[in-house]
Symmetry: C2
Subunit: 241 residues, 2 copies
């Protein structure tokens, strides 16, 4: 089912090709940036690194600028080049996916802010192992989704969509265990709540990575997989083979 | 600064006009549906109405179908009509805004699920007054954003963007007070956590309403107000007058 990554390149107009390629590569650049942000935010928090947390917080402005530039470039292509079929789906998918990347940036910023709060406390909060673990998991999902985007790889995208269930399960287990700590020692409630928001933020990063993967399937197959249960998804993809 | 709502209607092609108008009206219909969902989800929760909670949960499928249909119609217009300038901005704004509406639907579904959990408990949880209050507030914001969308009313949209700060403040106060309950009686922690997720879900509805309002400013003024602080926003809008 894998498609040749250059399928968008066989165009008559060379400069149109170049604009599309530039749009895609800028999108992937932004993706790389937010992936780094997620990992840095988790590192800042688990290693109590205030400097790194400040860096992540400030980088959010760069992410925001990327979003606006990509949107502008996409709209420019729609207006000037009036793409159709697959090219159009690529541009529309990027317009949608860029919002997901921007929101991943927002979640990293939230984690960085919580890291700055936690740094001020004098003891190590519960749940750091889980944060490290889930953080790594969703960053890997995001990396996979971007790779699938770069190579227009539907199989890989479907893997990512399926993976989101595991992140959700990890998130639930981690939240439940944190609640036990809170009940055992109510003095830790406020601190545990901060950790809980971090779990939540990471879980949302997983959701956005999953959204990215859904845009890829739509872009390549023209098949809308949002709001589709995994079993149905497998059925749909079998039909497309 | 108000613009004539019919500015998109002065087109040469009658059927193009009709397609754009149909797209916009379907979008507003979906907006009305998710607004009702928010109010119903809050009512189901605060009045322990399991039937209503189930209804909200099931309606999410209708919202999902709306999203896919609107996306299809928007892409169809891009491909066949190749709109430019303001028409293009309208279509792109709808493509972006429809994701916000869909996510509001998701938040309502989450609230409905938590309502079903809370119905099973035998006592009234803390925080219901705040849920009612914040719920009403964000539903009003959403209603205002949709009205601004319908009338392409930038002033109204800017009001909504500013309002989001107040929702955030209410959310923080409500969360803090809930944490006090948790500390006083750790047996209520699990139940309080559910209420906390409801606060969070409602706060996110406010965020999405704010996103909608930002799309309106962009659509009408061509000025990107995302990632702009309120002071800068006022400056920008003054320049546009």
């Amino acid at each position: 089912m894998k498609k040749d990554g250059n399928v968008y390149g066989n165009h008559i107009s060379q400069s149109f090709n170049e604009e599309l390629a530039a749009l895609k590569s800028r999108f992937l650049e932004m993706g790389g940036l937010v992936e780094t942000q997620v990992l840095q935010a988790v590192k800042a928090l688990t290693e109590r690194d205030a400097e790194l947390a400040n860096l992540v917080r400030d980088e959010d402005k760069v992410v925001d600028r990327y979003e606006m530039k990509i949107d502008d470039a996409a709209i420019h292509i729609l207006a000037r080049r009036q793409p159709t079929a697959r090219d159009l789906r690529l541009v529309v998918s990027i317009i949608k996916a860029v919002s997901d990347l921007e929101r991943i940036g927002d979640e990293s910023k939230k984690i960085a802010k919580l890291a700055l709060q936690l740094v001020e406390g004098d003891k190590t909060p519960n749940g750091l192992t889980e944060i490290r673990h889930i953080g790594q998991h969703v960053a890997t999902m995001l990396n996979g989704a971007l790779e699938a985007f770069a190579r227009l790889d539907v199989e890989k995208a479907v893997e990512i969509i399926k993976e989101d269930k595991n992140v959700d399960a990890e998130y639930k287990t981690a939240s439940r265990s944190l609640m036990t700590y809170m009940m055992e020692d109510p003095r830790t409630i406020s601190e545990c709540m901060s950790v809980m928001w971090v779990f939540r933020a990471l879980e949302r990063v997983g959701d956005h990575a999953c959204n990215l993967a859904e845009h890829i399937v739509y872009m390549v197959e023209g098949e809308d997989v949002r709001h589709t249960k995994i079993d149905q998804l497998n059925e749909q993809l079998k039909r497309l083979d």
